[in-house]
Amino acid sequence: MLQSRGVSDLLAAEKKAQELIEEARKRKNKRIKDAQSEAKAEIEHFKADRERQYKILEQQQLGNRTQMTEQSSKETQIQIGALKSQYESNKQQLLQRIITLVCDIKPEAHMNARF
């Protein structure tokens, strides 16, 4: 009688042990599955940060764009303006030279045809 009670107690303990182990295994599997969802959350956070960083850069560049265009056209206009003043100051001298050259005509017979 005692024996059977002892044995059944042992069997019960063994059964309980198995249950505990089984539960631990189940928890383990759940934990591993959790890894996926936690990883996902972390990555989303990282991605959002990076996106924010990128957007700032993009905005900056957009601003630079208009600034660059304005600057370039301003500088170009200055240079073209400089051209005008150079033209005006050198015009007369050049015109003189051109007209002198055009009016200075030397009609000559070909070398081989002369005597």
């Binding site: 024996q3 002892g6 303990a13 631990a24 591993i32 890894a35 370039s72 051109i98």
Partner: protein
């Protein structure tokens, strides 16, 4: 009789305790393992995705930089082109100014006479043909007819020969708004010498372009060869 009841009970307690302890250890083991695998899996997934994300945004940022460089280059190009165009416009303006001044000059009869005579003579020497037709502006017709005999003399003297017959075209004329000068035709119009003021201006203008550019725009620092 062997073991007493109490002894058996104690044995059984020990065995139960042993079973329970083993189970607890096993559970601890499983839980440690679980944590470990959790961390491994999580960091694996995170770093895998991280690499992708970093690569993606790096590429996008490179694109932005590329766009910036392209824009910069386009602007520099456009600027250079408009400056070059402006320079060319001024050069053309100079030529047009010269043409206008020459037109005015041809109204000074004595100066124009010399010029015209020289232009005709030059053309004749070039052609060396027996029969030449001259074409001029309507207004210059009489002047040309006047000058022709002297020029023929000169021509015959220089070449010590050659009879030459000159006709002044009275049916076709050079445009009235042109600066003046003369066109010479020979061989029934197959050979043409264009000695108009405009033609001469173009030729001379092109020849002294380097000088014009230098005077108007300064010496070109980028130029390596000058001959």
């Amino acid at each position: 009789m062997g073991l007493s009841e109490t002894d058996v009970a104690k044995q059984i307690q020990h065995m139960i305790a042993f079973i329970q302890q083993e189970a607890a250890e096993k559970v601890e083991e499983i839980e440690a393992k679980a944590e470990e695998e959790f961390n491994i899996e999580k960091s694996r997934l995170v770093s895998q995705q991280r690499v992708k994300i970093i690569e993606y945004y790096n590429k996008k940022e490179k694109q932005i930089e590329l766009q910036r460089k392209i824009q910069h280059s386009n602007l520099a190009n456009a600027s250079r082109l408009s400056i070059l165009k402006a320079r060319d416009d001024y050069v053309q303006a100079l030529k047009e100014e010269a043409r206008k001044q020459l037109t005015i000059l041809t109204q000074d009869r004595s100066k124009y006479q010399t010029i015209l005579a020289n232009l005709i003579a030059q053309g004749l020497f070039l052609l060396m043909e027996k029969e030449v037709t001259l074409r001029c502006r309507r207004n210059d017709f009489h002047l040309v007819q006047q000058l022709t005999p002297d020029i023929i003399q000169r021509y015959k003297q220089e070449l010590k020969q050659n009879d030459i017959k000159i006709t002044v075209d009275d049916k076709n004329y050079i445009a009235d708004d042109s600066a003046g000068g003369i066109e010479l035709y020979a061989m029934g119009g197959k050979i043409k010498v264009s000695n108009t003021i405009e033609a001469r201006l173009s030729m001379i203008f092109n020849q002294i372009l380097p000088e014009i550019r230098e005077k108007l725009f300064g010496i070109n620092q980028n130029r390596k060869y000058h001959d």
